[in-house]
Amino acid sequence: MISGKNPCVQIAALTKRHGDTLAVDGLSFEVHENEFFSIVGPSGSGKTTTLRLIAGLLQADRGEIFVNGQAMSGLLPNQRPVNTVFQDYALFPHMTVWNNIAFGLRMQGVAQSDMARRVRDVLNIVQLPGKVDRLPSELSGGEQQRVALARALINHPAVILLDEPLGALDQQLRQDMQRELKAIQAQVGVTIICVTHHQSEALLLSDRIAVMNKGRVEQIGTPEELYSQPQSLFVAQFVGQSNRLEGEVLATNESLSVFQCPGVKPIHIFGVSQELVGVRAMMVLRPEQLTLSREYQCDDAENCLETSIDQVLYLGEAIQYVITIGSKFSWTARGDPQHDRTSRFRPGEKAFVKWKAQYGLLFPQ
């Protein structure tokens, strides 16, 4: 409701137990109308269970799910205005593309003429005309993905649930489908809840993301909020690449704090609260916040540490340096591959790593 949008899905104190473990533990969040909402988290975090609870494939032990204001508990999957695109697509192997896509309409008793028109429309949306008579086994992975999406879209559900939607596709196809998925959503206007362990995909596709851990939501926010203002170490580590340094806050005044890690010279951080003094904490920096240089240049608002280059990894659009800080912390930093080849750092070389003091994020342990 932050942006004044209508809630489409509301989840309230949802709890589901699998044997002895709480797969979903008192979960609450809201998904707005026409929003692309992703749930990310490591395996076992409860994200797939949450999706199956919304679909009705599992029944919650406690709590409630509302879709467009209507309570879902007790309703079977076929009674919910929700359709799922399954991880393995789950296309019916004995039915043609046409019959797969029309299945939902047929089960709802939609008239034949109406059905034909809607199948044609949805095939155009997913850009798959002319393949209606094929069996799923005769389609490529990307085409199967489109059929699975079309099979859900055609029913005009209130919400479409995507379970690891692009997991089975190769990199190139994956990027194409990501773009297309966004375009289709903009075109037809549908609420999407997507579960993925691929955090970069979630950043790219989503309006908002929920990061789940051990059956609870760690943080909900826009991709930018999660990346630049993570509220826990877990979120900072899970979303994007992170460089970590463990130490203790020695002192702080209204603006500047001193963070000490054994074997590393004291580090300056801006904006640390008074309560953190004397507390063991983890500092997190993003790779793109670091600059490597051969000379020591440092002003008051910066930190500069001596380091050695361990590995140089060529990624095409960037160069990734793996560097060692102190005795045991391994960081990654980025370099520009357009940079004159002779000035690149080499493995084993000594260097200085520099970052602005406002960049350090601190999480007490």
Binding site: L57, N78, T84, A90, F92, G104, L135
Partner: protein, 281 residues
């Protein structure tokens, strides 16, 4: 044998071809020849060509036996399918440990000789058998029922004997159906009955056909079951053939009945086999 000669697929077929040729095709050919010969006065063979054996098949005397065989085989197949399908489905959707346990339970009867198990049914169905004693004791019956030597007894024996042959191929077919397909159908507004009708049954079709073939063929030609549980009252094709060969000693007529049996199996079996490939390919 060198590696390259092993790659010749035709060579690998040789043992099977030899066994089938020597022990199946040649005897079958002999039977075919015998079916056109005449019966000697004392039960021997006289090599005089005749089609009389095949003409005798049309004798109304035997029509009840053909009809009974066909009826019992079809009923057995249908009942095995009805009983076997739910069990096979439960097996296919159980945990791996439970699946193994249930599979062993289905196969345990095979550890005992079929003849012994059929005798056990005789003991159960006899006039003084377990069922009658029990019913009399409880007071459901005043006088013992004639259970043994009836069509019912043969039917029970056939269903009991061939049920595993239905369950196993059904289980294999159902186990291969991904549960996510059922979930997808359910998610796409299909109720439980529709999920079964539109997804589970069509996908289990190869198993259904295989199971029906595996039950129908041995049922229609069954010998031990109708012989022991049906006696002279409930003869089937198998018992009739044995009767002609060993009791009447009319080998030519016995051979002719055998070919009629083969024909019946082909008439029912071939369309089933073709139907197996109705989807996919």
């Amino acid at each position: 044998m060198t590696v390259s000669s092993l790659r010749q697929p035709s060579l690998l077929l040789l043992p099977t071809l030899l066994v089938l040729g020597v022990f199946f095709c040649i005897p079958l050919l002999l039977m075919f020849v015998v079916s056109f010969a005449s019966r000697g006065l004392y039960g021997g063979l006289e090599w005089v060509f005749t089609v009389e054996n095949y003409q005798r098949l049309a004798d109304p005397l035997y029509w009840t036996i053909y009809g009974r065989s066909l009826f019992l085989a079809v009923t057995t197949t249908v009942v095995c399918l009805i009983i076997g399908f739910p069990l096979a489905y439960v097996m296919a959707r159980s945990s791996p440990r439970m699946q193994t346990l249930l599979l062993v339970l289905v196969m345990i009867p095979f550890w005992t000789n079929f003849l012994v198990r059929t005798y056990a049914w005789m003991f159960l169905l006899r006039t003084e058998g377990l069922f009658n004693s029990l019913f009399l004791h409880v007071g459901i019956l005043d006088a013992p029922l004639d259970l043994l030597y009836t069509n019912g007894a043969v039917f029970i024996g056939l269903v009991y004997g061939y049920l595993p042959f239905m369950i196993l191929p059904l289980y294999v077919a159902l186990e291969r159906i991904s549960p996510s397909l059922e979930e997808a159908a359910h998610d796409l507004y299909a109720g439980s009955v529709s999920v079964f009708r539109h997804v589970v049954i069509p996908l289990a079709k190869p198993g259904i056909v295989a199971g029906c073939i595996l039950v129908f063929i041995p049922s229609i030609g069954a010998f031990i079951t109708p012989h022991l549980l049906g006696g002279g009252q409930s003869m089937m094709l198998g018992t009739l053939i044995q009767h002609e060969f060993l009791v009447v000693r009319d080998w030519p007529f016995g051979s002719a009945i055998s070919f009629l049996l083969m024909l019946l199996v082909l008439v029912v079996g071939v369309p089933l086999f073709k139907g197996r490939r109705l989807w996919g390919s």
